[in-house]
Symmetry: C2
Subunit: 415 residues, 2 copies
């Protein structure tokens, strides 16, 4: 059988299993999630063993340490995966929620109700914990999931999915959680072309992965997570707050999409702010790539257009002094990935303009870009952060993993 037929095969099984899952009530789904969590802890050794194989293969293959770090599972990480599943069990069921409803003038009852998408495809990199997270969120939102993790995490994913399927099958069809067969690019391609069999595809990972899925897929895609985020320190900024926000946005965790990558400073405050922010960033280990105003400080490297464009995901920041708010807005318009951009200001008019004119998933006033996060927003679980405008924008929780249908009830109504 070809890869395409294999992939269509699992998608068909997902469709059938998904139909039963879509009708399952919350209690059934929560029981499955609890069983999944318990099974992961119980069969920890099995999962760790499989993971050790992946790690060994990666080490032999000369994979960079930071990638191996993401790949590696520990008892703590498995406990985290189990807790994540329990957390999802604790969240309200989005399926069946009435989004709006009422009675029309002619007496027809109209309700718009949340329903699962059906079959969701996840394409992601070498983070085996995503396998459990995605399975849990999809299950709770009533969607069968097809998981296609990185081939370098193949053994871990096989083991995790095996554990999860066994646990699920007590109350629901095991095929609501499936691994996509094959670990070549062919199987990713087949998934992207499975229009009609797969309802939504969610790529999670680096910019390259996401771009290729967006361009090649005929299945509708939700783009996630590329973050070239800006902090703009306005003329009317409280500079202590500004310093704290820049440092937190940049250094709290560098490898994530909501970390700041660029700093813009209004020229009015440059003289007061630049020495402080450069020193503080450098003390935190950050390399500053700056314009002429910044390169006047020791250790600051000159910035090029590449720096404005780059999502470093490292202890680097691009930095520029701007003559006014308009120039800051222009800069953000040109370079932002429209994920999260922040202004620091005490000036209400500047804040209002920034909020209105910056066209990003999240616009923050006097707050760190790191707050753009499903858990910080109180969503409880997050499948990713959408940077597209259709369907969902920003952190995606359980409701974002659903579609809706209209239910119309009459007593013989005709037009």
């Amino acid at each position: 059988m070809s890869t395409t037929e294999d992939v269509i095969g699992v998608a068909r099984r997902a469709r059938v299993a998904g139909r039963e899952l879509a009708l399952a009530n919350r209690a059934t789904k929560d029981a499955a999630l609890q069983a999944m969590a318990a099974a992961l802890l119980e069969r920890e050794a099995e999962v760790l063993g499989a993971n050790a194989d992946d790690v060994q293969r990666a080490e032999h293959g000369g994979v960079p340490t930071n990638i191996i770090d993401r790949l590696r599972l520990t008892p703590d990480r498995i406990a985290g995966m189990a807790q994540g599943l329990r957390d999802v069990a604790g969240l309200p069921d989005p399926v069946g929620e009435v989004v709006r409803g009422g009675v029309l003038a002619n007496g027809l009852e109209l309700r718009q109700v949340r329903v699962p998408f059906g079959v969701v495809g996840m394409i992601y990199e070498a983070r085996p914990n995503v396998t459990a997270d995605a399975a849990g969120i999809c299950l709770k939102s009533g969607n069968a999931v097809l998981l296609r993790g990185s081939s370098s995490a193949r053994s871990s994913n096989v083991a995790i999915v095996d554990v999860l399927r066994d646990a699920v099958s007590a109350g629901l069809p095991a095929d609501v959680v499936q691994l996509v067969p094959g670990d070549t690019h062919e199987s990713v391609k087949a998934l992207m072309r499975a229009r009609g069999h797969v309802d939504v595809l969610i790529p999670r990972g680096g910019a390259g992965l996401i771009r290729s899925v967006v361009e090649e897929s005929t299945v509708p895609v939700i783009e996630t997570g590329v973050g070239n985020c800006h902090v703009y320190v306005d003329a009317a900024a409280d500079l202590d707050r500004a310093l704290a926000i820049v440092l937190n946005s940049k250094t709290h965790r560098t490898s994530v999409c909501n970390a700041a990558e660029s700093l813009l400073v209004h020229e009015t405050v440059a003289e007061a702010f630049l020495p402080r922010v450069v020193a503080a960033l450098q003390e935190a280990g950050v390399t500053v790539h700056g314009d002429e105003s910044f390169t006047a400080y020791d250790g600051v490297l000159p910035a090029t257009d590449d720096d404005w464009a780059t999502e470093y995901l490292s202890l680097d920041i691009a930095a520029r002094v701007v003559p006014d708010l308009d120039t800051a807005l222009d800069h953000i318009r040109r370079w932002s990935s429209q994920h999260s951009d922040a202004i620091v200001t005490e000036d209400q008019a500047a804040a209002r303009r920034f909020v209105a004119e910056v066209d990003s998933a999240a616009v923050l006033v006097n707050a760190s870009t790191r707050f753009t996060d499903g858990s910080e927003f109180g969503f409880g679980a997050e499948i990713g952060i959408s940077t597209q405008k259709l369907h969902a924008r920003g952190p995606m929780g359980l409701p974002e993993m659903t579609s809706t249908k209209y239910v119309v009830v009459g007593d013989g109504h005709v037009r």
Copy 2:
């Protein structure tokens, strides 16, 4: 200049104009809509003259009468277009609406706010009234629009867009309403490939047009309007209601996507219902394409799989007797285009199962499929009926023409 460069050129102008439009308040937008309506009436002769050219060309080209009927404008139709624009002016502004909001545990204010998409592309067939409708809905929702109507309506569309742009330009940039240059397929293709320049593409028209856009476009697409709709007459149906609903769903207007194309009848009521429904349909001029139970009646043609699959959009209906609700659900699962499907029943359990298991944009109980409509649902304006699951499903009003952003306001918050 190539067609692609031309199309990217208008898209860039739309982007710039759209930025100003996105910030315009409701009063400015409503004034523009009123001016557009007034200008259409004032310059009616110009539009009718251009339309006469299109109609003449179509007649010489041997275009079918029903297509020419859609193409032809009359003073009444122009008055209807003007009234449509005024109706949109009367609707609430979706932009800025707070979808949800509150204060997080740490004191951060969080609001999810509706914002325009930016640049919307419309691809549609030879209905010049869509030009004004789409321009009005996009303008009110803060989106710049690129209109690509059928080349057979080119002269009409040029005239209408000319009128609308003149009217808009009193208070807003004229480039918020633009015609896509070129009338070959190349210009449609360029529009479909203008990812990053065009935010959303909405094809309106027949199944072939929509399929080709969905398959070829790299710009996110909202699929609209293919309707293979079913009416299922259950064992527990009130047969008078069933008769009225079948007739209304099929014959009230045959050329629209929410017209019924298939009838399923539970075998328990077949003997009582079939003679009545066949006679009534035939009296209304409908050709019935039925299974063996139906072909027992005079004039009923035998149905093939093609009939179950077809969106007739004509005085034809496919008809089948089913042994039970499960078979009806299977039939709908297999053949429905997931637009609108109705059950006629007095049995609460059957209605609940039908509503839960039929995965369509609208599921109706004891009501005609013809009710799936933005205006019937009270939305006031409709850009189309989405049959996809991402972003919008069912009739799309002004709110469905927006995205959202998160606005996060703190006083120096860091993690």
